[in-house]
């Protein structure tokens, strides 16, 4: 496993031309824009791409056709929003073995406007055992995880709200973030109730957005336009789909599996990072991820936010793009934390740039902590 560490570099990242509410753009268009923008960022031609990776409703063949390439490697692993994070590891493996030379991981989702979207769901279990009771939509599942955490550890609504407040402070520094106005704990607690323990400000945005990441081997990366970002470690894991099958609602086994693998590959400890990106579909997500990754003790992930460690000026900045909570969240958010991590490692982030970022962690979930991906990224070998 160790021989894969640093076997690939991220050389290009970018979003679609626009993010937000885009009823004038199809889902496929969001992919095409993002891939072209990321290729330009890398100083590569789209025609150089010979490995296509994507998750969601479109197959990699559909993306390849849309961008006009004939790939010799395709991967459509779809295990939820973390799929793009997991694919960095898959792309690294393919690049390492010469199965492709330039890999693109593409995301496009018309999550808000639903343009060119065809929902396709596996309903045998949820249709039978969940929908009749009102379950459906992520908040009705993640709420159960959150309540159980409050029961076992005494976590409070105010503490979850601190996550939204901290993340909004970062969004205020990101011109691309959707919601940038100041936010208080009281604002979160007083916002519209959706599914207790969640009010609307505990829940991520719903937007239309695309994003893409381009990887190649280190020898070729040196000829690209930007400072290469090395993939020091990558890991993935899956535990369950239905929440009834999750062994411990307050501890994500998928997250732990993915983290352990990524940290071992990179030869780092969970506490070595100076910048962290976590998948924040809900305010309770990042604290639970910190706990499962071994960065925080059980029940103490929220302390990173309420004590200001995660906020601008803090010792361990978390979700510096403004997160799914305030920047953008198209539905499968996982491409965006990778993009931000790379930009931070390159030092391109302007007002929100974290000083001296050398080692950055990306971790995301798929479904309800069902699957997970972790990356250890660095700006040097």
């Amino acid at each position: 496993m160790k021989e894969l560490s640093n076997a690939a570099c991220i050389v290009g990242v970018d979003e679609s031309d626009e993010l937000g509410t885009l009823p004038h753009k199809s889902q496929l268009t969001l992919h095409v824009e993002a891939v072209n923008n990321a290729a330009r960022d890398a100083g590569l031609r789209v025609a150089d791409i010979d490995g296509v990776f994507t998750a969601g409703q479109h197959s990699p063949a559909t993306i390849a056709e849309a961008i006009g390439v004939r790939p010799r490697y395709v991967d459509g692993t779809t295990v939820g929003g973390c799929s793009f994070i997991i694919m960095v590891g898959h792309a690294m493996l393919a690049l390492h073995h010469g199965l492709c030379d330039v890999a693109v991981i593409s995301h496009g989702e018309s999550g808000r406007s639903g343009v060119g979207v065809s929902p396709r769901r596996d309903v045998a279990v949820p249709g039978q055992f969940e929908a009749p009771y009102g379950f459906g939509g992520a908040p009705t599942y993640f709420g159960l995880i959150t309540t159980r955490h409050m029961h076992e550890f005494g976590t409070t609504l105010e503490q979850w709200a601190q996550v939204a407040v901290s993340t909004r402070k970062w969004a205020a520094l990101n011109p691309k973030a959707k919601n940038r106005e100041p936010l208080t704990v009281q604002d979160v607690l007083a916002s519209r109730p959706v599914v207790w323990p969640f009010n609307i400000l505990n829940i991520c945005l719903v937007t239309d957005a695309g994003g893409a990441v381009i990887l190649t081997r280190p020898d070729r990366a040196r000829d690209c336009a930007r400072t290469p970002v090395y993939v020091r470690g990558a890991g993935e894991g899956a535990e369950h789909v239905s929440l009834t099958q999750m062994r411990d609602l307050t501890f994500s086994e998928a997250t732990r599996l993915s983290g352990d693998k990524a940290f071992a590959m990179a030869g780092v400890r969970p506490t070595d990072f100076d910048h962290i990106m976590l998948y924040d579909a809900f305010t309770s997500g990042p604290p639970l991820m910190l706990e499962a990754l071994g960065i925080a003790k059980r029940g103490e992930g929220v302390h990173f936010f309420e004590e200001g460690r995660a906020t601008p000026g803090g010792r361990l900045p978390i979700n510096t793009n403004g997160g799914g909570l305030s920047y953008t969240h198209s539905g499968m958010y996982g491409i965006f934390p990778i993009i931000e991590s790379v930009r931070q490692l390159r030092g391109e982030c302007g007002a929100r740039q974290v000083p001296d970022v050398r080692l950055s962690l990306v971790n995301g979930m798929g479904g309800m902590l069902s699957a997970a991906g972790t990356l250890v990224l660095a700006n040097a070998r």
Partner: protein, 156 residues
Amino acid sequence: MDAPQRPLPSPLTPEAKPYWDGAREDRLMIPKCRTCGKPHMHPRVRCPFCASADLEWVRASGRGRLHSFEIAHQILNKAFKVKTPVVLAMVELEEGPRLLTNLVNVPPDPAKIRCDMPVEVVFEKQTDEITLPMFQPAHLTQATHGSSRTDSGRYK
């Protein structure tokens, strides 16, 4: 009978037929492995613990504990017409398996509900074909207990 106020279970899968047949007769049936002895939910054709195909259906006691809950103020599925707020729940049966369900006959108030409280099954008929198992606080049928105490406002 009035039109159902909820989306009915769909699709009804062959492997789950005894579950719904049982519910129609107010019995909570769960699959159990004859090889390793463990019951499971949701129904499958192989035991998820030991992969044995030697499964039987047993009647669960209907008793369990509220593993977690939430209070929905809106339901996305338009076929769900029960007046909100409703309590969405995960129940752990005393046999072990967990179910998603509703907690009923309780105020939809986080101060009045707590994780791990004892619950018991109740059956709500939807149509001639479909009856849904739901759960209520166990004390409601234990007259000797009188009013059950929950430490109000546990979840701040």
